[in-house]
Amino acid sequence: MGIYNRILKPRKLQLSNKKVIEEPISKTPIILIMLFIAACISAKITGFNIHILLKRGGKFFNILTQMFPPKLSYVNNIWNPLFDTIKMSLLGSMTGSILAIPFAILASSNLVFNRFFMLVIRFLLSLVRTLPTLVTALVATYIFGLGTMAGTVAICIFTFAYVGKQLYEQIETVDMGAYEAMEAMGANKTYAFLAAILPQVLPAYLSICLFCFEGNVRYASILGYVGAGGLGLIINEKIGWREYDSVGMILVVLFITVIIIEALSHYIRLRLT
């Protein structure tokens, strides 16, 4: 900021009581110009072309119109993959969020005083978080074979990293008074954690897990693309056969499922907080 203020001198204003104040010049225009330049460069590299978009934009609806009306008779073939998807995300989310607890505790700066150790755990969590879920799913299919197990493992790994990060941020914001009081009274660390910190973070933790589960259901539906079971498998198959009306039916079912799950989890999360 210092350099910035030296180049563009703040404007000086004299108030009616002869007091001189400085008004720093807004940085918004410069940021906007920089963003605009970045956008131009990106447009060049990605080949962004508004003319093509305007001229051929209607083609986008080609597949979309073929999806409607959805083929209702296909619905009976959807239930199994749909339940597979839900099971995968349910089990993956549960195991992942339970696995995340010890790591989150070890990564929170108010409970662990060894800074090096804490940073290593944090780095591990962010490293796992950078792994694209599709890549973990693909690797899992090579190890566990095609099927739902691979998807479950991929979702578990993603949930682990996501919940781990959110949870340690949550633990760091708790009120440490009760914990310190319990330690002063002679409780050991485990007991003090269970009695003083757990009740404070539990609602937030459950709400994070539910939120993650919500996202996972949506994500699990594309894992089938790499052979990890679930709805993606049949979406892929039907697209391959160009039976877009069946794809439309799958999407409708998925949409309804996602709405139900979101409504449920939204209700539970409201109750929790």
């Binding site: 963003l35 970045a38 956008a39 460069i41 990106s42 447009a43 590299i45 990605t46 080949g47 962004f48 072309n49 093509i52 978009l53 051929r56 934009g57 083609k59 986008f60 080609n62 597949i63 979309l64 597979d84 839900i86 099971k87 995968m88 349910l90 089990l91 549960m94 962010s126 490293l127 950078t130 792994l131 694209p132 599709l134 890549v135 693909l138 690797v139 090579y142 190890i143 566990f144 074979g145 099927g147 739902t148 197990m149 479950t152 949506r218 539906s221 594309i222 693309y225 790499v226 079971g229 993606g232 979406i235 892929n236 697209i239 794809v247 999407l251 998925l254 949409f255 996602v258 709405i259």
Partner: protein, 268 residues
């Protein structure tokens, strides 16, 4: 003293029936979903895991430091451009949608309708969008950009709606009281309130889009995804390792920067 504590303990609500039933429910769900698990790891799987790990930890340095159009550096640049423009286009498209679905701006039925529409946009997997856009623009980075912008709408507008609904009306009322025009009210009353939140959302989404960019590769929509998936499908783990290393480093760097900016935005 002890007596008092015991009395307090007695006053604690007894919710063990609720807790027990929740535990029971979770147990049933676990049992139901455990059918997805199979522990049959074949000998081939173990051998494969070994190959993958050695491959990924010995990245192909020639590919990693190749600066031509096939090198990791250019692919990362392309991915970043897709994510960047995709986020911006998505963010612009989300503005009208989120104003139309904020309960304090329009009537409730309209808001509900637009919300369902946003949710429908969000449900369609990225791969299906990719296929639709390939009809428009052919395979390449442009398709990736369009797909990414449509996929971003769902989450961006969800966050936008939250900040619009949190708008402080009192500021607008006081601007009204000193006789501001509508335009002035928007300039001094609404934009300063929304701008930091919106920017924060956009930066967060950019971060996410960069992570999701691999998905686009599946449909040939440009970026780093396609070479990564091809390398993995062909068991060329050294190449996959090189690409993954580049991607991970990029994501970590972007994450650090974006967290810094967002913390600054949040604290003003």
């Amino acid at each position: 003293m002890n007596q008092k504590i015991l009395v307090k303990y007695e006053e604690e609500p007894k919710r063990w029936i609720l807790q027990l039933s929740i535990a029971f429910l979770i147990g049933i769900m676990l049992a139901w979903s455990s059918s997805t698990v199979n522990y049959k790891i074949t000998a081939k799987g173990v051998e494969m895991a070994g190959c993958i790990i050695t491959g990924i930890f010995h990245p192909d340095t020639k590919l990693l430091f190749d600066l031509s159009e096939n090198g990791v550096a250019y692919l990362l640049l392309e991915t970043m451009c897709i994510a960047f423009l995709g986020t911006i286009v998505g963010a612009i498209l989300s503005v009208p949608l989120s104003f139309l679905s904020a309960a304090n701006v329009v009537a409730r039925p309209v808001a509900l309708l637009v919300r369902v529409f946003i949710m429908a946009i969000r449900t369609v997997p990225a791969l299906v969008y990719g296929l639709m856009f390939i009809r428009v623009t052919g395979p390449g980075a442009f398709t990736g950009l369009l797909t990414m912008s449509l996929c971003s709408i769902g989450m961006i507008s969800k966050m936008y709606i939250e900040s619009i609904e949190d708008l402080d009306i009192k500021i607008l009322e006081s601007l009204d009281a000193i006789g501001c025009t509508t335009l002035q009210k928007i300039r001094y009353g609404i934009i300063p309130q929304l701008f930091p939140d919106f920017m924060s959302t956009i930066i967060y989404r950019f971060d996410m889009n960069l992570r999701d960019a691999t998905v686009l590769g599946m449909v040939g929509a440009g970026g780093i995804g396609a070479p990564l998936i091809y390398a993995m499908n062909a068991y060329r783990w050294n190449e996959a390792g090189a690409i993954l290393t580049g991607l991970i480093v990029l994501i970590l760097v972007i994450e650090v920067i974006s967290t810094k900016i967002r913390v600054k935005l949040a604290r003003g």
